[in-house]
Symmetry: C2
Subunit: 277 residues, 2 copies
């Protein structure tokens, strides 16, 4: 998907919500467990109910891998279902991959060719040659971990580099802007770290940011938008558990849709107040 098509979708739906499909088989409604493929059936219901309120879905690959072959089948069916029925939706493989060049090429093949996701999250620790195989794909997007939403982000990402006052996550972002096709980079910045966003926008005013941590993890939407939004909106704000596991009743999909609509409505207010829609 082209960047401009993502922006069009955001303006049309008045939403920059990404819904995380962290489909934990132990948390989905029990009555689905009798079906042949409960994980896919859950995802399908959630997607059917919420797609008009969000612009992106982000399957979290760990939840599929943990179920082995059945999980992988459910992942394949889920991405095919989205691509076939809602081609305007931006898809994110939340995989946090990254390895030496010949191996990263294989991950790129897995997620961009075989599964046909629009984007993938990538860990920057192994540097340029571990990321560039993903950047080789045209109209695909590489979402680099910068400052993550968890407590462990403070273990290494916020250490100062050399004798500068720059922190490590800042060095990652700054360095990556020199890589080829760096306009295809997006960055993960946790909503729980909203105060860092202003500084980040100084280095990368234009790139999209994927913001996890709204909802279950406690981040605040207004703070994120105040510090991180740009003239193209430039944000994809993710919520997973607080939407998809809002209910385990027979109408779980409708409750999820209601939660998604509430966030979309807050997003619409913010976009309106900034004259972006």
């Amino acid at each position: 998907m082209k960047r401009k098509d993502l922006i069009s979708q955001i303006k049309r739906k008045k939403s920059f919500l990404c819904i995380g499909l962290d489909t934990d088989i132990n948390k989905i409604p029990k009555f689905l467990l009798d079906l042949e493929d409960p994980i896919f059936e859950f995802n399908k219901k959630i997607i059917d109910a919420t797609n008009s309120y969000c612009v992106a879905y982000k399957p979290n690959i760990a939840f599929y891998e943990s179920e082995g072959l059945n999980g992988w089948k459910a992942l394949e069916k889920t991405i095919k279902y989205i691509n076939s029925n809602f081609p305007e939706i931006f898809t994110i493989a939340d995989a946090k991959r990254g390895d030496i060049g010949n191996t990263s090429s294989m991950y790129a093949k897995a997620y961009f060719d075989t599964l046909n996701f629009d984007s993938i999250t990538i860990n920057p620790y192994m540097g340029k040659d571990s990321v560039e195989p993903f950047l080789d794909y045209k109209n695909k997007h590489t979402i680099l971990l910068a400052l993550t939403s968890n407590l462990g982000a403070f273990d290494f990402q916020t250490k100062n580099v050399d004798k500068t006052s720059h922190q490590f996550y800042y060095e990652v972002i700054k360095t990556s802007t020199n890589w080829k096709n760096s306009s295809q980079l997006m960055y993960v910045v946790g909503a729980t770290k909203a105060s860092y966003l202003r500084e980040i926008r100084n280095i990368i005013p234009n790139n999209f940011l994927l913001i996890p941590g709204i909802g279950a993890q406690g981040g605040d939407l207004k703070d994120v938008c105040k510090n991180g939004m740009n003239n193209d909106v430039g944000l994809l704000v993710n919520s997973s558990r607080s939407i998809i596991f809002a209910s385990t009743g027979s109408d779980f999909d409708l409750i999820s849709a209601k939660k998604a609509q509430e966030i979309q409505s807050q997003m619409e207010n913010i976009l309106s107040s900034r004259g972006l829609v």
Copy 2:
């Protein structure tokens, strides 16, 4: 597997060779492509031919994911085959995973429970809470990326931290020694960075190191052993492409075995000269 059983195996086989199963369907002998599961059949032949010369196999997960469902099936069959037929072999999922706690728990379930690997490679960028779910498993081993074998290692891993003369990879190792069950940690240090090993051994004299980069990537075995070996051997030296793709002929497995035996023989000499066998 317990650490002491790994050490016993090393001493019995006079080898600390790990063979990387980076099974690229485009590089395996063409006559295998007619079989129902060429990736598994290739692995089986390689394992049958080489298991007496090595102590560990390391499937590189990217090569399986890139083939989708068929790749995942081949991975499942490969690990089952090793565990059933060669239970003394140490198995490494070269996955380079790592995510927020609830997601890392799912990856741990995938590789330690569902697939039953002995160990997994983990990226430290997201810090303590992204690694600890793996350390919760008894008799399973978490192999943390420290200093990788690729050129991109110099992008971030070797930056100095704060005003110290410590580099980032050093900070990762030092910090991780304070995590719970840190005796179950092993570390990846590229053979192409052998000169760093002496300094690394000062912080972690006892932990095993997984050393990629011998062979196709150009690292030197003697340098690695001189600087990295300890009294328990403490090294697993990996070779992938230069062993498994040594030939594409009908006797490819025997040629691979010959390559593996050559390395085992060099290892035996080193172990003997140090009085370790």
